[in-house]
Subunit: 183 residues, 2 copies
Amino acid sequence: MLADAAITVLARSGSRGLTHRAVDAAAGLAEGTSSYYFRTRSALLQACVERLAARTLAEMTTGAAGPASVDGLVTACVAVLGHWLTHDHERLLARWELALESTRRPELGTALRDAGAGVRERVAATLADLGVDAPRRRADDLVACLDGLAFDQLAGAGRPARDADGLRASVTDLVRGFTATGD
Amino acid sequence: MLADAAITVLARSGSRGLTHRAVDAAAGLAEGTSSYYFRTRSALLQACVERLAARTLAEMTTGAAGPASVDGLVTACVAVLGHWLTHDHERLLARWELALESTRRPELGTALRDAGAGVRERVAATLADLGVDAPRRRADDLVACLDGLAFDQLAGAGRPARDADGLRASVTDLVRGFTATGD
């Protein structure tokens, strides 16, 4: 609960706004609660990374099997991107804040990489099932590019975010590029 | 000079570390200098956005004409991405800090969008010259995805950054996806 509150604070107020006091207020708990459980700011940041990773993993475990065609992969990617942009933007903003913070705190980088690896392995397995060459490298790229499209539409020059048809056109191009088998 | 110092502070210490005092120290100037020219933190952030935009525009103006083939576009994108990752990472980190900050400060968002528009228009003109359909939308996507690859390798799960051959493989896939003309 405290980690979820900290993620909300990160998304709404940035890394700069992340203080124990702000987390207590966001969680509706007495002042001093979050510093009792997470003594330092670094411990609070680490808790955010672990909580984000746990939520992502839980979603992946409950999800269905990977898509069985390129069209199915496009549909799955459009669904993920659409969900990110509409319902999950706080989680994305918090993750990007943590990613930038991890350039200055190597211990956060390790936790973020471990969390990202689970998602990428699953995408790589799907690409391999579709007969795509270099599935690991392409899975890493595809995830990074989907993240780039989300960043652009939530925080970059691509605001406001596109509608579902617009997302589908972008993702179709992207997936085509990373699933070509003819070379 | 102050804006460049502020960009360096943003990249190295994050939005949280950006104070007038830190900017004065990074610029090697007497305390109080940056607050004389940029009274508020908001003015300092705005100066960073404008300076980043001016540097990007200056590079674009001095650059050669757009690439005349898809292979040429791949080569140009690999060169840009490689430069970002090796020589320009502070500028990228600063831009991402500003982008996240702009989700809370709409006035920064406007300046960032204007700066991004110049780059995207140039890419769109190249795609149009190559006979690609929907060049505007695809230029926006291509730039957002290149930015996503850079984010992943500088701050995300893709660290450490790939070598030139690895970048070329990624960019080849990406450009292929966004330059397909057969549909």
